[in-house]
Amino acid sequence: MNDPLQQLIEAIKVGNRKIAATATQTALDSGSSGKEVLGALSEGMDDVGKRFKANEIFVPEVLVAARAMKKSMELLEPILVKSGIKPEHTLVIGTVKGDLHDIGKNLVAMMMKGANFNVIDLGTNLPAQTILDAAIEHKADLVGLSALLTTTMPAMRETVALMNKEPHPFKIIVGGAPITQDFADDIGADGFAIDAASTVELARTLVTSS
């Protein structure tokens, strides 16, 4: 396998940081465009997301894939900036107030980066106002809220309510272990996804429909 782009895809799929970095460099040195390298990253992460959704791989495999993607992005980013290639859409994401669980939210953030969204990850335990302020500041197209606890589902409801008080240009998506489509509908969110790969599908649909 001599094609560095193909090597990059494989390196992402198996989460090999070193090979991801060298393949990225080789691809760029041998004339691949930033866009092509980005495409390879997305293809690798897309495959990872699908296998995770199908329970063929588990959280560690997704995490190492995302770390390999990050290594590649460090080399790629300056090239993208130079050639004016920017993600079309921005997701602001975080875990709601009172909740410290972040593995699921991080996986979602990683898969969304892999799908070429600009992702602003605000972290955990976030007051509603902080999330709203960040959504406005970063001109978000999507706001993602995560909650893993039944105790913090009310905070998710309050956050959505605060955002929906005034008209806003972004769509709100929610998820986390106790969250269901019914709950998402009930609190006025625009979408719910059961896992990280489904989030990418949902996000694509929502940004194209708006």
Binding site: V59, P60, E61, V64, R67, I103, A177
Partner: protein
């Protein structure tokens, strides 16, 4: 039957005189319980809880200067760093003073079945690495992780031995492996890395005539065969809301181990729906009338549960099992 005999009957797969009862009520509900009952101990006495769930003993790791420096500088603690960290003495007598007093009280005064919680291999190292890094290291540093787990299992074995010396009935290994939809890591990793050390501790405890139990949240269906092979006597919880069905347990696993479960705190207890609470209790009593279950909550009762609902829940289970 005394409480201890009742729990042991369930563990031996025999029918107890009545279902043993327990609940993880202290963590979030302490203030509300104190106000209504005077203390959590008074609540436990009021409902004649059959078990005592104790914590204590030494911490495994001696956190040295280099570790602290790295943590403070926000640097990753990697497996080779941990191989250089010394472990504390798991049998240091003075570290067991609190446990000793509690064991004496619950056994001698209340005749309860006493279990001590101790972190398993995964949970113990989450504290050191952070869970997300730890999950990556399972793939990135397999040899080092195996060595760290080997040392840890030996430590856990000695800790368990000391607890058994003090009269503890069951060692409760807390080691969350599940998430809402599946395992956190692959079954292959589990068999290769987690299984050997947990088996070592279980064999030792059982060889000394003690009992051993597992706490793992979430969906652990993919490693139930391994859980049987390790020989756990009891598994807590059996999180139905995460795909662990009681019917499946009764059909396929109840000859091998018993479960500690009952009120699901993710879906049932704490939502102000008293009819659901009652139905859950009735179903459990119907399904486990012949044994197989130690009644408990699936985790800490969450603070959205009112004291009235908690009292209703325990009044109900007592009414259904004791009259």
């Amino acid at each position: 039957m005394t409480s201890k005999e009742r729990v042991e009957a369930v563990i031996r797969h025999e029918k107890p005189d009545r279902m043993p009862i327990y609940g993880w009520v202290r963590y979030n509900m302490k203030d509300k319980i104190d106000e209504r009952f005077g203390s959590v101990e008074a609540f436990e006495d009021h409902y004649a809880f059959d078990l005592a769930h104790l914590f204590g003993g030494p911490d495994a790791y001696f956190i040295g200067d280099e570790y602290t420096r790295k943590k403070e500088a926000g640097e990753e603690i990697e497996p080779p760093d941990v191989l250089n960290l010394p472990l504390n003495n798991p049998e240091e007598d003075k570290d067991f003073d609190n446990l000793r007093a509690e064991i004496k009280h619950h056994k001698e005064v209340r005749s309860r079945f006493v279990y001590v919680q101790t972190p398993g291999l995964f949970e113990q190292l989450n504290t050191v690495f952070g869970i997300e890094n730890h999950l990556c290291y399972l793939l990135e540093y397999p040899d080092e992780i195996k060595e760290i787990y080997r040392r840890q299992a030996e430590w856990n074995r000695k800790f368990a031995g000391k607890c058994l010396d003090l009269g503890v009935d069951m060692i409760h290994v807390s080691d969350d492996w599940g998430s809402q939809k599946s395992l956190l890591f692959s079954p292959d990793i589990w068999w290769d890395m987690i299984y050997p050390g947990q088996k070592l501790v279980a064999d030792y405890v059982k060889g000394r005539g003690g009992h051993i139990s597992l706490h793992s949240d979430g969906d652990i269906n993919l490693v139930v065969d391994g859980i049987k092979k390790i020989g756990y006597d009891v598994v807590h919880p059996w999180q139905e809301s995460a795909g662990m069905s009681y019917e499946d347990f009764l059909k396929n696993h109840s000859d091998s181990f018993s479960i500690m479960s009952g009120y699901d705190i993710q879906t049932t207890l704490g939502f102000g729906r008293l009819d659901d609470v009652r139905s859950a209790a009735e179903r459990v009593v119907r399904l486990f009338g012949n044994g197989g279950l130690i009644f408990c909550t699936t985790h800490f009762v969450q603070d959205h549960c009112s004291i009235d609902e908690l009292v209703f829940a325990y009044d109900t289970i007592c009414e259904l099992t004791r009259t």
